[in-house]
């Protein structure tokens, strides 16, 4: 890879000291986001995907957490940056939207005021110009009668409309990167389809890269270009979306695929992953997935596997099993049962 990616995350760790011990929410996470691409970060609750997303914006309070490693956005280091430097990055270069648009919008300010504020904090413009820009953005995300909706309060909108307003607010300064943290989880499936379509359309139009954090592999398959699969604070696999679904190289990804009931076909029994995710305070010394893995052997318990190429240069996985063995297991045991 010749040129520097838009966002470069290397060995990122976010730890929270608690009375029970150090919670390693994110532990040695590395990935790149290239300009204009949609990267899916998929994982179950507690996998650290949302914590990582917030870390990209430097949103974790320094007093309550310890963030180490490297997050480099367009050449600028985020981890350890001064508050003022982070502030100028937030909203103008990197924007974020969240799972629950109702609680994420201030209940006592109008939608329009919240949008204008986001624009004016990074652009020296008059109130009138900011208002015009906000109305333009509301129209762009498909809010009917945008000029009138400008004065509406969040509770007067439906869930889908609120998320549209959040997207409008996030993109109002034309950021290079949008972090969408479970943006459709709180929405109905027909509205989810609209919102995903909107995010996809706008990322094309604005040329923004998107980090789409989700628990839903279906959302990943239909929206993303590349995927990072997270488990217990670590990345277990990352690949091009086609590679991930056609040749997954991590037993955890196999387990996820085996767990999902399908809308497009009737499956027999599901093949769930046994047991439960480990405690983030007391992670296994070796591979974090080893206690639940059906293919674990000797070194898995003691030695932490590194993220290494599996099949192609762009396809990385964290697993001790030799690559040919994994390819064989996928082809003969896993894929036929799906």
């Amino acid at each position: 890879m010749a040129d520097e990616p838009l966002l470069r995350v290397r060995d990122l760790s976010v730890h929270f000291p608690t009375p029970d011990g150090l919670v390693r929410s994110v532990d040695g996470l590395s990935f790149d986001v290239r300009a204009g691409e949609i990267l899916g970060v998929v994982g179950e609750s507690g996998s650290g995907k949302s914590v990582a997303g917030k870390a990209i914006l430097g949103l974790h309070e320094p007093g309550q957490s310890v963030t180490t490693g490297e997050i480099r956005y367009a050449g600028r280091q985020v981890v350890g940056a001064a508050e003022e430097e982070l502030r100028q990055l937030r909203g103008s270069e990197i924007a974020m939207i969240f799972q629950d648009p109702l609680s994420s919008l201030h209940p006592y300010f109008t939608i329009g005021d919240q949008l204008s504020e986001a624009y004016r904090v990074h652009n020296r413009v008059s109130r009138k110009a900011a208002r015009a820009r906000a109305v333009e953005m509301l129209t762009l995300v498909g809010i009917p009668a945008a000029a009138r909706s400008y004065g509406a309060y969040p509770h007067e909108f439906s869930g889908g409309m609120r998320q549209r307003a959040m997207i409008a607010m996030a993109l109002i300064c034309d950021p290079g990167l949008l972090i969408a943290d479970e943006p459709t989880t709180a929405l109905d499936v027909t509205v989810q389809a609209q919102i995903l379509q909107l995010i996809w359309d706008l990322s094309q139009e604005f040329g923004s890269a998107v980090v789409l954090i989700t628990h839903d592999l279906g959302v990943v398959a239909e929206t993303c270009d590349r995927v990072v699969v997270m488990y217990a604070g670590r990345c277990l696999e990352q690949a091009d979306v086609v590679d991930l679904f056609e040749r997954p190289m991590s037993p955890y990804t196999w387990g996820l695929l085996g767990s999902i009931p399908r809308i497009d076909e009737t499956r027999g029994d599901l093949a769930p992953i046994a047991g439960q995710p480990p405690s983030l305070i007391d992670l296994p010394p070796g591979c974090s997935f080893e206690p639940r893995c059906g293919f674990a052997f000797g070194s898995c318990t003691s030695e932490r596997p590194e993220l290494s190429a599996a099949g192609s240069e762009d396809h990385l996985a964290r697993c001790h099993l030799p690559v040919p063995d994994r390819q064989e297991i996928w082809r003969t045991q896993i894929a036929p049962a799906l």
Partner: protein, 338 residues
């Protein structure tokens, strides 16, 4: 909206009516419990039985209770004449009773005392609201700092030192303490605002501090807790993610969210305190409603006690209506919910 307001006012009138019945009943029961004829409460202990009987008849204490209540209640609306012959007095509407001990109508006494209490409470409210909310917000924003710890200790002192103790210290220090502190060597007396605004304020200052000290402590602790809760809300994360300055995040988005509840709390406290701040008024010998009630009780002047009680109830009901109205103005969700 208008119907809603009308409903609220009607409800408040209903509550007042109930309060009047309860007040009246309690004071009807009093002579029965103490086995002292009602007439003695009006005329004093030295009355002969024959005189007492005459008084009873003149004021209608021998009539059925409901009839007495009706006379008393209609007197509030239309005024009434008490007694007959040479001793007859007219008590103009709104007649809350007539004190034969002092030969004045209770309403007149209330009208005279209320400005004193109002002066004390309003001034103290400005102090405790400004001080308590500001201290609470700063303590929450700098959680764990020296300011936070210091304000916690001072709050704890404020809550645990009773106002008669702090008030006595204050009076002693300012009037008879060391010479550099003896700012009020002439004594602290109430001067009406209309007479001399400067001396009004100067003389009220120690009273304000005495009353506000305890309440400020309560508001500081409460505001700090409410702010801390608010600062963990999703919309605060959104505000940070927009790139707003920390000052704006705390002072605009955070503070705005706790204002409706601060206003509610302050409104109810004001309503309760305006009915009379007995201890403080007694300590400083300020002729307010609390002092009036206290004197009424100590001289067993029944009409005065009833009048001050009902007036205090009226103020609390008014405060409730005002608080509801403020909430509807401050919280758009209530405003639109109807």
């Amino acid at each position: 909206m208008i119907r809603y307001a009308a409903n609220r006012v009607l409800g408040a009138l209903g509550v007042l009516l109930v309060a009047s019945v309860v007040t009246f009943s309690i004071f009807q029961l009093l002579p029965r419990v103490t086995k002292v004829d009602m007439a003695f409460y009006y005329t004093g202990r030295n009355t002969s039985p024959a005189q007492a009987a005459a008084v009873s008849e003149r004021f209608g204490f021998d009539k059925p209770v409901w009839e007495q209540y009706w006379t008393w209640l209609s007197g509030i609306v239309t005024g009434r004449d008490l007694g007959d012959g040479v001793s007859a007095v007219h008590c103009a509407a709104p007649c809350l009773g007539y004190s034969f001990r002092q030969n004045r109508s209770v309403t007149e006494m209330l009208v005279q005392a209320f400005p004193v209490t109002l002066s004390i409470v309003i001034g103290a409210a400005v102090l405790w609201l400004a001080g308590g909310v500001a201290a609470g917000v700063i303590a929450a924003a700098r959680r764990g700092s020296w300011f936070d710890r210091g304000s916690t200790v001072i709050s704890l002192l404020g809550v645990s030192i009773p106002e008669f103790f702090s008030g006595m210290l204050l009076i002693y220090a300012l009037t008879a303490g060391p010479s550099w502190l003896r700012w009020y060597s002439g004594g602290i007396t109430y001067v009406p605002f209309t007479q001399d605004p400067v001396r009004w304020a100067v003389n009220l200052l120690p009273v304000w501090f005495c009353l506000a000290f305890l309440i400020t402590a309560v508001y500081t602790r409460w505001t700090r807790a409410a702010m801390l809760e608010t600062m963990s809300e999703d919309f605060i994360t959104t505000a940070k993610a927009k790139g707003l300055r920390r000052r704006t995040v705390v002072g605009k988005h955070g503070l705005r969210a706790v204002i409706p509840t601060v206003v509610t709390l302050a409104g109810l406290d004001l309503g309760a305190l305006l009915g009379g701040v007995i201890i403080v008024e007694y300590l400083f010998s300020f002729p307010g409603l609390g002092r009036l009630a206290y004197d009424g009780i100590s001289t067993k002047d029944l009409p005065v006690i009833m009048g001050t009680t009902l007036f205090a109830a009226f103020l609390i009901v008014v405060a409730n209506v005002v608080v509801d109205a403020c909430y509807a103005i401050l919280d758009p969700r209530v405003r639109h919910g109807g």
